[in-house]
């Protein structure tokens, strides 16, 4: 229990750090691009909207840094992330909420599947050393070095295009209205196949390699010899004794690699014009839509923190040694 409390405390601290970072970054931008953009839209903005933007970006204020900081926090806790310039006059929070489910679905599903598949194959490769599975390793090494987005480009070039089953871009058939019906969902799924496959292939190799290494290391441990000496069936030794222990560093590593995975997914979204947070960030950066950029960074960071917390809970469940009191 104390382990979990410490982790939660840590995540709260990191969240605070991320938000503070978010506070400082726009104040480092040379020039005053935000101010000029505000003056352009001035007639159409309500005073509240202008104020919230001022608070977020520290414009035109004679308040001390500390006061700005306090105002910033007050505003954030109200969920007000300002207005987006590119999606004007939609508030940033709304724009993000539109894109979030797409990324969650894509990242969530592919990450879990790739971890499960990669770990499974890694167990096979590590347990039956010297078998055919070892031949896969050079291929997987190569695949894990290929940038996600390049793989996406190749996939589009080879598999997508007019007349093929796989659409080359977008999240769903243009013209369809997002609604929880089979037509829309079917189209959404079809559009997510290539992006998902791209992420899957590239990230799975990492898991296979690390799991294999751990299995090989664990296979030399004493308790495996004992398990064999006990005459237990092969499957039990491989799974309950070896894999169960080899899994632990992988789960710990999984939490830490979420940051990388998110990065890779962003790129795939860009390549496929998939309407998730990554694509949104891409367009925001190109248009210098600072409020949107800030908001997306915040949301991404907070999601990664939550995911990390979940992974820590999983680790707690798997490794009884972490439940040691005190």
């Amino acid at each position: 229990m104390s382990y979990l409390l410490r982790r939660v405390g840590f995540y709260l601290f990191t969240a605070w750090a991320a938000l503070t970072l978010n506070f400082f970054i726009p104040r480092l931008i040379p020039g005053d691009p935000v101010k000029s953009l505000i003056s352009r839209y001035q007639g159409q903005l309500s005073t509240d909207a202008i104020n919230s933007l001022y608070v977020l970006f520290g414009i035109d204020t004679h308040d001390s840094l500390w006061d700005q900081y306090v105002d910033y926090w007050k505003q954030l806790l109200h969920g007000d992330l300002g207005l987006s310039f590119t999606a004007f006059p939609a508030p940033v929070s709304e724009v993000i909420l539109d894109a979030l489910p797409w990324t969650l679905a894509l990242v969530g599903v592919t990450t879990l599947v790739s971890f499960a598949l990669g770990t499974g194959l890694g167990v096979l490769a590590g347990w039956r050393r010297g078998s055919w599975v070892d031949g896969l390793l050079p291929a997987t090494t190569f695949l894990s070095s290929v940038p996600y987005f390049w793989l996406g480009l190749v996939a589009i070039a080879l598999l997508a295009g007019p007349g093929s089953f796989f659409p080359s871009s977008g999240g769903y058939e243009p013209g369809l209205v997002p609604a929880p019906d089979t037509i829309f969902l079917g189209s959404a799924v079809r559009h997510s196949l290539l992006p998902a496959a791209t992420i899957l292939i590239s990230s799975m190799s990492g898991w296979i390699l690390s799991m294999r290494n751990m299995m090989v290391t664990v296979a030399a441990e004493d308790y495996i010899t004992v398990a064999h000496a006990k005459g237990l069936p092969e499957r039990r030794v491989a799974l309950n004794y070896a894999a169960r222990n080899a899994l632990l560093p992988n789960v710990a590593g999984f939490a830490l690699s979420l940051g990388f995975i998110v990065g890779g997914t962003l790129l795939v979204e860009i390549v496929f014009s998939y309407p998730g947070l990554g694509f949104l960030l891409f367009r925001a950066v190109q248009a210098k839509d600072y409020p949107l950029m800030q908001g997306i960074f915040l949301v991404i960071t907070l999601s990664v923190l939550v995911a990390n917390l979940l992974a820590d809970v999983a680790y707690l469940a798997l490794d009884p040694r972490t439940r040691k009191e005190g």
Binding site: T14, G259, F297
Partner: protein
Amino acid sequence: MAIPTSSIEQVIPKQGAMAQPAAPRRRRWRFLANGKATTGLAVVVGYVLLAVIGPWIAPYDPDARSGELLQPPSTQHWFGTTHLGQDVFSQVLVGTRGVMLVGLLAGVVATVLSVLVGVTAGYLGGLPDDGLSALSNVFLVIPALPLIIIVTSTITEAGDLVVALVIGFTSWAWGARVLRAQTLSLRRRDYVEAARATGESTWRIIGFEILPNLTAIIASGFVGTVIFAVMSEITLAFIGISSVSPWNWGTILFWAQSQQALAQGAWWWFVPAGLAIALLGTALALINFGIDEFVSPRLRSGGRARIRTADGRTVRMRVGFTPVLAPPATVPAPRTKETTDE
């Protein structure tokens, strides 16, 4: 994007790293005997060479336009041309320099930072350790790429140097964590305790007793960071955040993407750049495998898995079932109680 796969880097909290302290000097060269490592090293050296001489041996100026627009590979243009008639091969060659520079510089910056933070935290312990650990954990958890994107986008002209520094300053945390764990475990070893007991100064202890034993991990961390740095800078160039004037492979892909190379079927525009990245990444990963196997002997390939016995049977080396080589003899009749033993 490669997820860190080195087993050295799998650190379970409270259990320290899995690597063992360094071998005596002559064993270090055995690292080079590892096939994977030497292949990787050779490829990387090749890339460094190209980085140095690339601009000189490139057949064309990468910016030079010509009349041959979007031509597939030919004898004049080995990798074909872009929409402006520029030679893709030259672009790839010249781009090597930018990529290697940024990768290596970012690697150095991140490694230096990780050594400073990690070893200090591990050696000093107590409050400095808590503070530094909190700092590295924060940087570890915050997703690197979005952070890099945001920071770089606020800088107007993000050239190679800036990009390298930004990447270096955001990716040191992983290495710091591993080094801290290993320093913690080394600190408790006998020879370090002995050095402290005889009053050796802290700097000498760190420099002579601890650092040499960390070389494998530092090397592995450096290689990993270079991989990450190369990927990140290519990504930044591809998205169009870093400035487009210095050539690197990401820039090539940026132009390929924005000019709809795919739609026009100009595969030669983006395939070479991607393959270049993949090859470099693979080579660096191989070096890391070599380091891994050197440090954890269990991972070394155990030689032949199948053996032929004297009577022609094939047996396999298998964990838990030791093979028997001799042909089986018949079991003699059980001894009765009257027979004397021995």
